[in-house]
């Protein structure tokens, strides 16, 4: 079974230690990492699949606008739990799969964490075929969205045009998007290309 990456993003050592102690009680295959600076988000959170991010509001207040944008993007493999510790919410409440409130007792916190961990484990235990596109497919998709023809893409990636077509078929069937315009929108939403390129 693939393990779950848990990232605990909080400014306070006490909170980070407390959360990882609770997580250890579950016995799920988790690898836990604590971060105390927003720059580390990019290193750990957005690269791994199957990640549970536990982040506090005060930590979010230290994030740049780019980092905030990454946080709001919705992906199937990143679950987000907010620790509501202080101040007003800086991100829409829907960004988070769960919110831990200051007044939550140990049982409630335990239940909230467990629910998210199970959610992350589900696709694997249920044996669902993963529809995430591969890195190579992402690269092809990026070039398609930038308006290159199959032939041009083949030359850029040193592969045959036939292989490009196979990649494109797989991308379409995995994503459920048929048109170039649709793939472009997908690529922008997933930050594979910048909106400026399209404009």
């Amino acid at each position: 079974m693939e393990s779950i990456h848990v990232i605990i993003a909080d400014l306070s050592q006490l909170t980070r230690t407390g959360v990882s102690a609770i997580l250890r009680q579950f016995g799920y295959p988790t690898s836990c990492r604590e971060i105390m600076h927003p720059d580390r988000l990019t290193d750990y959170v957005f690269k791994n699949h199957n990640t549970l991010l536990i982040i506090s509001n005060s930590f979010i207040s230290k994030c740049s606008s780019d980092q905030l944008r990454n946080l709001t993007a919705r992906t199937r493999y990143l679950f987000k739990i907010l620790i509501r510790d202080s101040g007003t919410l800086l991100l829409p409440i829907h960004t988070f799969n769960e919110i831990i409130e200051p007044e939550d007792n140990d049982k409630i916190i335990f239940r909230k964490l467990e629910k998210q961990l199970q959610g992350l484990l589900k696709p694997f235990t249920a044996g669902i075929v993963q529809e995430e596109i591969s890195d190579r497919e992402k690269e092809v998709l990026r070039l398609v969205a930038m308006g290159f023809t199959n032939k041009e893409i083949a030359e850029k990636l040193f592969i045959s045009a036939h292989t490009v077509i196979t990649h494109r078929k797989n991308i379409t069937s995995k994503l459920g998007i048929k048109t170039i315009a649709g793939l472009t929108v997908y690529a922008v939403i997933h930050k594979l290309i910048s909106p400026d390129i399209v404009n």
Binding site: S65, P92, K178, G182, V198
Partner: protein, 245 residues
């Protein structure tokens, strides 16, 4: 349940509210009291049999007495198709555009650029749809009328025969373009990939409208394919057979 001329139009709407858009396409306004379909059609100078066939074919997808519908003149069918084109371009599409506008406005300023892409994507779809409609109205329908005129006059002239050789219903059927692909993509982007807006109901509202438009376009295409095309093909065949005779 088959809809018939003695039924009250109000009851029919209660039976299936989707038919509201059909009656408005025929120019019928609400407020018809307890009048029967027959009566309302008389008031509005509508061919009641044709009206019933359209109502029934929308109401029940399996209902399609092609033979019966093919008894109507090309003019009646084309007039109806034109009205639905008008409804798509001037009512439905602008409604969806407004919803999409509200959707992209609901995202925070700094990420809005991304969501404006959805608007742009829909504009692309609108252009394709409108090209498709223009082609039908300016190329296909005039052709269809000329075939019907020649057929009714029992006069297979050189002109009409050469125009059939030039462009026939076989070509029309082959001119299948993928207008519906973009609609499919947009639905999937909204369902699967778009980050939730502040008000998730907006996304749902857009999706409802897209699904509805798609269903309506499919019904529309069914009338073209199952009624107009076979009818014109039959007349083309008659003309070609009688040209040399």
């Amino acid at each position: 349940m088959l809809i018939h001329s003695k039924m009250k139009l109000a009851e029919v709407i209660h039976l299936n509210y989707h038919l509201l858009q059909i009656i408005s396409r025929f120019g019928i306004n609400l407020g018809f009291g307890d009048k029967s379909i027959e009566h309302v059609c008389r008031d509005y100078f509508i061919d009641v049999d044709f009206f019933l066939e359209i109502l029934n074919s929308y109401h029940n997808k399996d209902y399609f007495p092609q033979k019966h519908l093919q008894g109507f003149s090309v003019g009646l069918i084309v007039e109806y198709l034109r009205k639905s084109h008008e409804y798509y371009l001037h009512t439905k599409i602008p409604e969806i555009e407004q919803l999409l506008q509200r959707l992209s406005d609901s995202y925070p300023e700094e990420t809005r650029e991304t969501y404006q892409l959805i608007d742009k994507f829909f504009t692309g779809y609108k252009l394709e749809l409108s090209d498709h409609i223009q082609r039908e109205e300016h190329k296909v329908y005039p052709y269809v009328f000329s075939v019907e005129n020649a057929y009714l006059a029992r006069n297979p002239t050189v002109e009409i025969v050469s125009s059939i050789h030039n462009y026939s219903m076989d070509d029309f059927e082959e001119e299948h373009d993928n207008v519906e692909d973009k609609l499919y993509d947009l639905k999937n982007i909204l369902i699967k990939y778009l980050p939730l807006p502040a008000d998730p109901r907006l996304c749902q509202a857009v999706l409802f409208e897209l699904f509805r438009l798609e269903t309506d376009l499919n019904d529309h295409a069914r009338i073209e394919d199952k009624v107009l095309v076979p009818k014109v093909k039959y007349m083309e065949k008659w003309i070609l057979e009688h040209f040399n005779a």
